[in-house]
């Protein structure tokens, strides 16, 4: 077994400033976006960017989205922060990024389905969110064309070889999980290719947010992916606050972080146990279920809602910590702290469990890097990015914690990272509670225009939200990027060469959000 210790935060090596791709972006016209700059590129400059990205692998693509007439992309410069680039759409087309950044593929398909913009030279032009069942296609474009044809049959990528056959699963699955269709090509018991088809949960979330104030639209961000409701609400609130230049009160910042760490704890407990359960080793799952229930009840007592939905709002937090909340949180976390070492010992000492998780579902570090995979998926494959640390945000920028990183990239490594993060979160909540001082909970937002970005580390990885407000303070363009966008494609890579029976285990060890990417 590979019980290598978490290696702690990755040191920030002094690296010469990447001239290539980042410089190409900075040559564009700077727009008023906070706290990260956005540059509007001419079509020729954008083409230059595609070339520069090919030559310069350090600039990571975090997201791609659109509005009527424009396409936006968010990049991450390691150790420096984010950089946004935009290009005008000319006759429905813009130059694709997918040939040089594979993570762009699904974004380009989504941009086409929602706005009708075509990624010229893109590597995959098949529909993504649009299953042909809406009344009009390109529903977020200026004039959505009515749909008159019946839904087309989806096309899947093929696989050839002796005895290759298909297994089709979903969208309705055997367990209590979200819907998607999984198309396996298998040879004997071995998976040759997996392709996931998502979009079944598309609710039209982005369109519903347009024309609303950030306060009103926050409930949509809170329901992008229920398991990360706190993190998404926080990222959304940050984008609004950045756009308006509002600084939230210190007590609200601490309460947000307490809620976010409780969210990380209950999800990590849930999934850590569930992976063991998927390997038919149910005792850890039963214990994690009890511990997680304790955390949720403490959250309900402290913040009035088990999942803490609608707690974080633009301008601050909606509710204060209830009387007795601190004690309830401390008691629940003490129970977790007491039991984690025993759980880990049982996990490590049972060969039947280790046999299932070690070397299963391996994600190569090179792939994790190429897709800029965040969260425990990236950190279990050597990519040590955690936006609480870098670029960092309050209150984490004044707190001591380490970012656990593993390199094995298998199911075991992802569980090791999550166990280490459980310990980190326990300590973080304790010091956050200790810092709490009385003070105001929220500020009123001015009714003004602006553009802002919010970046918050959810339990899965960084939630990246962007919004533009018009002069009346209403949302004129918005995008909510769940970290799963860059993790789903990697699940397909990780399962390759594994047996079909290990798919539930691999899938759970990634636990990508379906709703989060279906929008």
């Amino acid at each position: 077994m590979s019980a290598s210790e978490p290696t702690g935060a990755q040191p920030a090596p002094a690296r010469p400033r990447a001239a290539g791709a980042a410089a190409t972006i900075r040559a564009g016209r700077q727009q008023a976006c906070r706290p990260y700059p956005r540059f509007l590129l001419e079509a020729g400059q954008w083409r230059g960017l595609v070339v520069a990205l090919r030559d310069d692998p350090t600039l990571e693509l975090l997201g791609l989205w659109a509005e009527a007439g424009l396409v936006h992309a968010a990049f991450h410069q390691p150790n420096e922060g984010l950089l946004l680039a935009s290009v005008a759409v000319a006759e429905r087309h813009y130059p694709a990024l997918s040939p040089v950044r594979p993570g762009a593929i699904r974004f380009e398909r989504m941009v086409h389905d929602l706005w009708g913009h075509v990624a010229e030279g893109g590597t995959d032009a098949r529909p993504w969110l649009d299953h042909g069942r809406w009344a009009a296609s390109a529903p977020m474009s200026a004039r959505p064309p009515a749909v008159t044809t019946p839904p087309p049959q989806p096309e899947f990528l093929g696989a050839e070889g002796e005895g290759v056959h298909q297994i089709q699963v979903g969208p309705v699955h055997a367990g209590v999980i979200e819907p998607a269709h999984f198309r396996f090509h298998v040879q004997g018991e071995t998976v040759v290719r997996l392709e996931a088809r998502l979009g079944y949960l598309h609710k039209g979330t982005l369109a519903l947010m347009l024309g609303k104030s950030p306060r009103l639209a926050a409930r949509f961000a809170a329901r992008l992916s229920g398991d990360s409701t706190v993190a998404h609400s926080w990222a959304f609130a940050t984008a609004a606050e950045q756009a308006l230049g509002v600084v939230v009160p210190p007590r609200a910042v601490l309460l947000r972080a307490i809620a976010a760490e409780l969210e990380r704890l209950h999800n990590h407990l849930n999934d850590w146990g569930a992976v063991c359960g998927d390997a038919s080793f149910v005792w850890p799952q039963a214990r994690c279920g009890v511990l997680r229930e304790g955390v949720l009840r403490a959250a309900a007592l402290a913040f009035g809602h088990r999942l803490m939905m609608d707690l974080v709002v633009p301008g601050g937090v909606a509710r204060d910590l209830a009387p007795g909340g601190t004690a309830a949180i401390r008691a629940a976390l003490a129970a977790v702290a007491q039991e984690l070492p025993g759980l880990q010992r049982v996990y490590e000492s049972h060969a039947s469990l280790q046999d299932r998780v070690v070397t299963t579902g391996t994600l190569a570090p090179a792939l994790a890097a190429a897709f800029a995979a965040g969260g425990f998926v990236g950190r279990a494959s050597g990519r040590g990015f955690d936006c609480r640390k870098l670029p960092g945000y309050a209150p984490y920028n004044t707190m001591a914690f380490t970012v656990p990183v593993q390199v094995a990239g298998d199911v075991d490594a992802r569980l090791q990272v999550r166990m280490a993060e459980l310990h980190q979160s326990l300590a973080l909540v304790e010091s956050l509670l200790a810092r709490l001082a009385p003070g105001p909970l929220k500020l009123d937002l001015p009714q003004a225009g602006g553009e802002g970005v919010g970046l918050v580390e959810s339990f899965r990885g960084e939630a990246l939200h962007w919004m533009q407000l018009d002069d009346g303070g209403l949302i004129r363009a918005v995008f909510l990027r769940d970290p799963s966008w860059l993790q789903w494609p990697l699940l397909e890579a990780a399962i390759e060469g594994n047996i079909v029976a290990d798919f539930p285990l691999c899938n759970k060890s990634f636990n990508c959000s379906y709703s989060g990417v279906d929008l």
């Binding site: 069942r133 809406w134 598309h202 709703s515």
Partner: protein, 174 residues
């Protein structure tokens, strides 16, 4: 080592909660529905198939929690099954996206009579916050006859349990 822990668990107090009280009005309404439809009764045990039709996954988290040892759904004779063909109850969440409608209808068609349909969460009730979107139908009732609604965003496991126990009671009475 696992054995000492298991042995210890044998002698410690159970962590399972007492069952919640079942609201009489809900049972009464269900009985009436059952009689009006002249529907054959199911036994004291119900097999449940969950179908997510556009949920944010908040409802799924709470439905899954029913299976943990604190709520221990199976002690009531309620259990989740892997196929609609084995199910007595479809437990449906989400505002019913247009992209899921056909899958839900097929799942319902695969479920043998007699069967119940329970809509879980505000989304499933009438679309919830997603009301008015181009991408949704606006609640499960837009496609299929709903027997019981368990509102909430999401409903807590206790609220879910109340609803499901009412369903059991309704089968038993009358």
């Amino acid at each position: 080592m696992l054995w000492p822990r298991l042995a210890k668990a044998l002698f410690s107090r159970p962590v399972t909660d007492a069952p919640p009280a079942v609201p009489d009005v809900v049972v009464e309404a269900l009985v009436q529905r059952l009689e009006a439809a002249g529907q054959a009764r199911l036994g004291r045990s119900l097999a449940i198939r969950q179908v997510d039709c556009g949920s944010c996954n908040g409802c799924e988290l709470e439905i899954s929690a029913l299976g943990n040892v604190v709520y221990d759904l199976e002690r009531f004779g309620l259990k989740f099954v892997a196929s609609p063909r084995h199910a007595d109850v479809l437990l449906v969440t989400g505002p019913l996206t247009r992209n899921m409608r056909q899958a839900l209808e097929r799942t319902w068609a695969c479920t043998p009579e007699p069967k119940w349909l329970v809509a879980v969460g505000d989304c499933a009730t009438d679309g919830g916050v997603f009301k008015g979107s181009y991408a949704i139908e606006g609640g499960i009732g837009e496609a299929l006859p709903v027997d019981l609604v368990i509102p909430g965003c999401p409903p807590t496991p206790t609220q879910l349990l109340e609803g499901l126990l009412a369903l059991l009671e309704a089968q038993a009475s009358g």
